[in-house]
Symmetry: C2
Subunit: 491 residues, 2 copies
C-alpha cells in the first residue's frame, strides 16, 4: 500500500483531481436541435435507429434518443462502403460523430457521417436480432402489449410516458401554487378504507413466526382515511401514490395496481367547493401543457395515426372550451336519462336508487352535455360509510342522499369521486355497524372526530384514467409502464 | 317529478346556476399575513388553538392552520364574558370572525374578537377532551410516536412534513430541467431485484383458487430493473416510489415501507458521471430551498429547540459550503480508516474485503472529510449481480472491484447507492448462476442486453434519509407520516 498524505492534504488533492475529471451528461438530441452547434462543427449523437433508407449515392438513418419525438437525420455518402462495414438494423443503438450541416429535408439540420473523414465515427453500441419486433411500421397496441420490455421503444408509447411525466409535473405545480402539502400515506395498512374486502394481503416471504406487523396487513385500496388524519394537521394535503385492488376485472379501465391522486381539504363546507377544485386542477394542467406547447405537440406528433391525433385535439377542446363544466344531482341525472335518452321507451329506464351504469355515464357526458359533468348527491346506499348527508338545499328524507360527487368524462365515464366527510363520531360508528364493518380496526380513524376535527372533504382521481383521457388512449394498460391485472405480472 | 326543459336549455340553465354558486377555498393564514386586508376590516380565520393566555383585561389565542409555522394572534377584550360562554382548550379547532388590526406584539397584525360586536363571531368547530395530549410544551419525539394520528399537530412534526413536500417539489424541478422522464415502475413484481429474499409476498385476501397474478408476486425492493428497461426507451428516467423490505431491523435508519428516489441514465460510461449527477441533484435541491427562504426558515422556526435549529443550519452548510464533495475508492477508504482512524492501533483495523460499517462511514464523512463523500469501486462480493467491473484506471485483477459508488453523509452514513450496469448478457447470466439466483424469472431483464442496449447507470436514494439529514431529524420514523416497521402498523 502506498503511503497517504495526511487527511487535510488528501482532501485538497482529491478536490483538484475531481474537478478535472468531472463530466456531465451528453447533450440530448432536443438540446442539440434547440441550440444548434455551428455548421461544419463535429458533433456526437447517441440514440436508437428508428428507420433506414439508402439510395445509390447516399444513406439515411433516423436516430431517436427517446427524450422527444424529434429524430435526427444521419446522412452518409458512399453507402456501399459504409454498409460493407456495418449491418444497420432498426432498433440498434448507435453513436455517431460527424459534421453538423444544414439540411435540405424537413429538419433544419442533419448530421453527416463521412467514412473517409478521420474524425468521423459510427459505432453500433447495442445490436438487435434479425427478427427485432419493433419496426418502423405501426404496430397494434394489442400486439405491443405482448412485448412488455420493448413496447416503449415505439414513438407512440414513449410519448405517452413522457406525457404522463409532464402531467404529473403540472399537477405538482398546481398544488404547490394552492398551498397544498404533498404527503406520503402508507400503502401497507391494517384497515380497509372502502370496506369492500377487495384487498391484497401482505406477508413476509420467508416468514419466521407470527405476523410481520403483529397483525394482518393489506395493500391500501385508497389512502383517504390517512389523508383525512393529515388534513387535520396540515390543512390541505394531496398525494399521488399506487393503490391496489384485488378485483377480478379484466377491462380497459381497471388495473390491479394503479396510481391515484387523492386530496383532502380542511375548512370546506360544501361539495361545490370540491368540484370547483377538481375542475380547476384539471383545467390548469391541460391549459398549462397546451400553452407551453412542446409537450402537447410531442403528444400529437407521435400519434399512431391522423385520426388519433385529431382525437387528442378533440378531447382537449372538450376539457378547455366550455367556460364551466355542468353539475347535476344524481336525481336530475336519472330524470335526464329517462326523459331524454329513454324518451318514450321502457327499456333502459332507471328507477331512483338504481346505479348509473358506465354506458349511461358516457351518454350523459359524451352525448348529452358534450362536456365533463359533475354528478352530485348520490343515494347513501351506493356510497361508503364516511359520507355525510347532502346539503339541506337538495336533501330529501324520503330519498336520502349524501354530499358527494363523481366527475364523468365523455368516452371513459367516471374519472374522479369525492365527498364531504362525516364529522360526527356516533353517526360514523352507527353507519359502520349498519354495514357490518369492524369498527375496532378503525378506532384510530374515528378518534379524529373527537380531537379537534374540522369540516373537510376530498376526492380521488385514477391517474391512469386522466392520462388515458388527455392522451386519447383507449386502454389504461397502454398508459401504465408495466400494467398489473389478473394473470398479468410478467416481470 | 318535475318536467325538465330540453337538454340544451338545461345546459344553459345549469351553467348560470353554477357560476353563482362557485366558491373557492378560504384564504390561509399565510395568505392573509402576506396580503393583509385593510385594517379595521372584518376577517374570518380558521385553525387550531396552539396556545392560550388571559390577563384581567384581555385574552389571547394563538391560531395555526397547519400550512405554515406562522400563527395568528386572536385578541379578545372582556375575557370574563368570553370565557363564560366558551371553554377554550389547546387543540380545539375554531372559526373566528373579527376586526383586523395592527398589533403591538411580535407580528404586524392580529385579529380582534369583540364579544359585543354583532358581526364578530367565534365558534369552536371541533372540541377536544380535557386530557388532549398535544399541548404547548415540547413533547419528546418518542412520546409523539405513541400518538400516530395526533403527532403531526405539533408545529415541529408538521413542519417536517411540509419540508418533505417542498423537497419533493424541488427534486421534480431538478429532473424536469435536466430532461428526465418521471416514470411509475410497478410495485408488484415477480422478480427479486437484489436477490436477498427480503420480500413481502402479495396475495388476494379472499383467494378463490390459484395465484391472482398467475404466479407468485412480491412487493418490490427496488424498481431499478424496471427503470433500466425504461431507460432503454426514454433515455433518462427517474421515479420516487414506495419500496418494501421485510427485514427484521428496528433501527432509526430503516423502515419496512420507505420511499426511494431512483434514476437511470443512458449513454453514460463512467461512475463519475453518476456521482456528479447525484451531487448536483442534492445541491440544487438544498440551494433552491435555501434561496427561496420561506420553506427553510419555516423548518428552522418550527424546531423543537435552539440546538435543533443550529443543527439544521450546520447540516445545510455541510452540503453547500464545499465547492465539491470528495470521492475516494473503497480501497482508499480502507487505507484512510487504517492509517488515520486506527493509526497505530490493531483494534478496528480493516482488511481489504471487509465491509465498511456504518460507524466507519460516519467517521469518514463526519470527522475525516467533514463533508458528504463518495466511496467508489467496492469489492464485487459486496455488491449485487448487475454491476460491471471497475474502470480500467482503478481495476486490480487481484482485488476485483465493480463500477459503483455509495454516497456517505456525516451522522447518518449511506444515503445513496449506485453503479454502472453490466451490458453483457453472458456475464450477467454467469453472475446470476454464481449467486444461485433464478435466472428464468429474470429472462425479461436479461433480454434487454440483446435488444439494442445502451451503456447506462443509475442510483437509488432513500428519500426519508435525505429528509432526515436535511431536516436534522435523528429517526426516519419522524419524517414518515405513518412509519411501517416490524410490529408497527397501527392504522
Amino acid at each position: 500500500m502506498r503511503l497517504l498524505p495526511n487527511s487535510t492534504l488528501l482532501r485538497l488533492v482529491r478536490f483538484v483531481q475531481l474537478k478535472a475529471n468531472l463530466s456531465s451528461l451528453n447533450p440530448t438530441i432536443r438540446e442539440i436541435l434547440n441550440n444548434p452547434p455551428d455548421t461544419n462543427s463535429v458533433v456526437t449523437v447517441n440514440g436508437h435507429i428508428k428507420s433506414l433508407r439508402t439510395s445509390k449515392n447516399v444513406g439515411f438513418i433516423d436516430v431517436s434518443d427517446g427524450l422527444s419525438s424529434d429524430t435526427l437525420n444521419v446522412v452518409f455518402p458512399k453507402p456501399d462502403t459504409v454498409l460493407e462495414k456495418q449491418h444497420f438494423k432498426v432498433g440498434q443503438s448507435l453513436s455517431v460523430t460527424g459534421k453538423w450541416i444544414e439540411s435540405r429535408g424537413k429538419q433544419k439540420y442533419e448530421l453527416q457521417f463521412d467514412v473517409d473523414e478521420s474524425d468521423h465515427k459510427l459505432s453500433i453500441v447495442g445490436n438487435v436480432p434479425d427478427d427485432f419486433p419493433i419496426q418502423k411500421k405501426t404496430h397494434s397496441l394489442q400486439f405491443l402489449r405482448s412485448l412488455p420490455t420493448l413496447r416503449h421503444r415505439t414513438t407512440g408509447l414513449a410519448s405517452v410516458l413522457r406525457f404522463r411525466s409532464l402531467v404529473e409535473s403540472k399537477l405538482i405545480e398546481y398544488f404547490d401554487r394552492n398551498s397544498f402539502v404533498k404527503v406520503s400515506p402508507p400503502l401497507i395498512t391494517s384497515s380497509d378504507c372502502e370496506g369492500a374486502g377487495e384487498q391484497f394481503k401482505v406477508e413476509q416471504l420467508n416468514k419466521s413466526a407470527g405476523e410481520f406487523f403483529g397483525k394482518p396487513a393489506y395493500l391500501t385500496v385508497s389512502t383517504q382515511l390517512h389523508l383525512e388524519i393529515l388534513a387535520h394537521s396540515l390543512n390541505r394535503v394531496w398525494t399521488l401514490t399506487p393503490c391496489f385492488r384485488a378485483e377480478d376485472s379484466n377491462t380497459n379501465r381497471h388495473l390491479s395496481e394503479f396510481w391515484m391522486l387523492e386530496a383532502e381539504v380542511s375548512y370546506v363546507n360544501h361539495v361545490k367547493q370540491l368540484t370547483a377544485l377538481v375542475e380547476d386542477m384539471i383545467r390548469y394542467t391541460a391549459q398549462a401543457i397546451k400553452d407551453e406547447g412542446v409537450g402537447y405537440s410531442d403528444l400529437i406528433k407521435a400519434r399512431f395515426s391522423k385520426e388519433e391525433a385529431a382525437k387528442v385535439e378533440q378531447r382537449w377542446d372538450t376539457v378547455l372550451l366550455l367556460e364551466q363544466w355542468p353539475s347535476i344531482t344524481y336525481t336530475e341525472a336519472i330524470e335526464i336519462i329517462n326523459q331524454v335518452k329513454c324518451k318514450g321507451r321502457l327499456k333502459g329506464r332507471l328507477e331512483w336508487g338504481d346505479s348509473i351504469l358506465t354506458e349511461n355515464e358516457k351518454w350523459l357526458a359524451g352525448t348529452h352535455f358534450q362536456s365533463p359533468v359533475f354528478v352530485t348527491d348520490y343515494p347513501s346506499e351506493q356510497k361508503p360509510f364516511y359520507m355525510p348527508k347532502s346539503h339541506e338545499s337538495v336533501y330529501d328524507a324520503d330519498r336520502p342522499t349524501v354530499a358527494c360527487f363523481d366527475l364523468i368524462m365523455p368516452e371513459i365515464g367516471e374519472l374522479v369521486g369525492g365527498s364531504m366527510r362525516e364529522l360526527d363520531h356516533d353517526k360514523l360508528l352507527a353507519e359502520m355497524k349498519n354495514r357490518k364493518m369492524n369498527s375496532a380496526d378503525m378506532e384510530w380513524y374515528l378518534s379524529a372526530t373527537l380531537n379537534g376535527s374540522v369540516p373537510h372533504g376530498g376526492f380521488g382521481m385514477g391517474f391512469e384514467r386522466l392520462i388515458a383521457y388527455l392522451g386519447a388512449m383507449d386502454n389504461i394498460r397502454d398508459v401504465s409502464a408495466f400494467p398489473r391485472a389478473p394473470e398479468l405480472c410478467p416481470c
